[in-house]
Amino acid sequence: MDSLEEFIAHAVALEEDSAVRFDDMADALDVHQNHEVTDLFRKMAHYSRLHLAEAQKLAENKELPRFKPWEYKWPDREPPETPAMDATHYLMTPHHALVMALDSEKRGHAFYEGLALTHTDPRIRELALEFAEEEAEHVAMLETMLTRYPAPPADWDEDMDPPVSVD
């Protein structure tokens, strides 16, 4: 990451991608009548959009570089705060959803923290530290929430009915 603009572009893309993914997962759970988790995912998407707005605010009056989706410099295959689609399940509980969200936030935190500690540009270090601290707050908040949603019994994914033949 070579410039402040590039850093902000990444922050924007990170939150946007996370918001879209949480929305997609909310839709998927909604279709499968899992309303509790649907609502949770919608909330996550909402928070991501709030953070997105903050990142976009930083971008005001700046000419951000335009990356193609695959040109961003993420540490992994996807942006760090984007939850993995294959971690969802139609019978998943709020506990699972919170674990997923927590995992995202932790990866987001690690991403920013890494930049805050290692980047050569002091302006990026400063901003990354700010973001990392914010992510740390989210992590703490989710950890608190998680105490209210302990792990479900081991047979949480048991379905008494067989799957349906569709086509």
Partner: protein
Amino acid sequence: MDAVVKKPQDYKSDLKPVWCPGCGDYSVLASVTRSLAELDLDPHTVALISGIGCSSRLPAYSTLYGFHAVHGRALPVATGLKLARPDLTVLVAGGDGDGFSIGGNHFVHACRRNVDMTYIVMDNSVYGMTKGQASPTTESTWTGSKLTPEGPGLAPFRPLEMALSAGATFIARAFAGDPLEMTRQICAAIAHPGFSFIHVLSPCVTYRPEQKEWRTLVHAEFTEPETDRKAAFLRLLDDDGFSTGILLKSPSAPFRPTTAASEPISALGRQFAI
């Protein structure tokens, strides 16, 4: 460039997918819409054709012109459309059963015919819509289906080798868990003049939950596309089925029937005059 920058959401319809949460196909839908936004294509100039199966539900989830055709016949429908309407961008989506089993013949001949379109196969090695039977790409010893309790006992179909043998000019493999790389491939495939084949490893969380392991098995391998078949064949000799990237992008002259209106219709009868 267009005054209004297009967003992936512009290509998504209000219809919500019926796919199981966790299905790899969500990722393909996201990559397709992202690619179209990236290429700044007007949704009404793109057609998305499919057959039958989980993945073939894709068109209805888009704001594109779609055709959800019968099982196995997406490629001929798309071919007819593209030949009759070369102005359109034509995408084809389907699964491993649709494309390699019932539609296998069309797959081979679409590779040969090299009509300018992009074919995305979401491969999960199982028939999801009919409750989990073995597909052409299923391991021969997989005993997860009541239909083949001893395992299918057939060597799995090797889509990339088939496509290469049949003469495809653009061949790639993507992984649902890496939608950004998939987006890159789809953009390149659409830009490629000719038949482009993208084999997407798209896990089935319901009937093949063990495919979650694919995340650790895939490896970016085809970093620079080959331009000739021999080199591509050599690379496939070492393919474990989890190599990703664009394997081949070779020079291509897409098939277009010659047509040049030269005569009034009324003149056609002259050949029968005595």
